[in-house]
Subunit: 173 residues, 2 copies
Amino acid sequence: MRPKQAAAPATNADRFDVANRLFFRLYQSSNLMHKNGTRAVWGFGSTTQQWAVLGALARPRVRKDGMNVKELIAFLMVSRQNLAAVLDRLEARGWIEKIKDAADGRARRSRLTVKGIAIWDDMLVAIGDFYEAALADFSNEEQLLLYRMLDRLKDGLGALNPGDDDAAQPDEG
Amino acid sequence: MRPKQAAAPATNADRFDVANRLFFRLYQSSNLMHKNGTRAVWGFGSTTQQWAVLGALARPRVRKDGMNVKELIAFLMVSRQNLAAVLDRLEARGWIEKIKDAADGRARRSRLTVKGIAIWDDMLVAIGDFYEAALADFSNEEQLLLYRMLDRLKDGLGALNPGDDDAAQPDEG
DNA sequence: ATAGAAATAGCAATGCATTGCTATAAATTC
DNA sequence: GAATTTATAGCAATGCATTGCTATTTCTAT
């Protein structure tokens, strides 16, 4: 049973093979990002996951009032239990503080402290160097293209969630 | 202060922002891959990392004689200690066995058992479905493009390793 | 006011991933 | 033959990430 067209369409095996390599590269890239990224900010006592949280809280629109746990979970797409541990470490180090939400008595907002802001500003230099080195082989256009494809991949992977219909897309400013 | 050219060249801030979003999407995609991928093979009692090891050992060229720890570390790009724990779990479940290397008395080769091969064949169906669903929004050409970009990203991230000069690239057949 | 939903906190377990250290056995090199 | 390197194993610690469960406080809807 041959394909009808001579243009050599991808077989199921071909498709599986490409997808397999794709996700394997995702797995390897993620591990390397965490390993070498953590090394890049090791001098500050931080890790990649902590820098993700700090980066979320440092955004201009939320820097003043912080974010509550629900917002951070939606933004970072991690579990509540995982996030709580990271927030506890950041709080213990004095980089963030938990304040009561003025509007909602149940909620507590995590906000950068003065110390946290200072550390973050220093870390930004190391993070910038890390980005530059890791993406040295990519042009600006390619970086944008890769970002957009990873964004779609994230959406494709997120759509597989059974219950999580609240996959709201917070802005990223 | 306006840009000199009307073509709006990328500023340093633009470059940082794109890189920042790119790695954030990598972080999110990886988390989702592990979470939903593990759900996809949960019925078999497996996880994504275990399926990566099984997939490595199931390749035609190594299926008969297996791989030793050093080869697996180079292939999967994980630490020795992490791999040992995963291999122990697979061995305890009877999916792999550790045999003595005929050529090198120090080395032990991890090889799929008959049971492991049977489970892997079943898992392949679930994995194929997972791939299809996660990449439903991508054409064949886009999947190939994304794979190639992730491959380069992996290389860029791997080049940041201080000591690891043995970043040999094993084939993937 | 009462019931239900939502936001947080905590306990417990499993698995992944890293680093650092030591020890043993076998191969290689000199 | 002796010294070094290589491959594996084990112990210990830290951090990330998930799931499942319960409890408390507060807000909202009836």
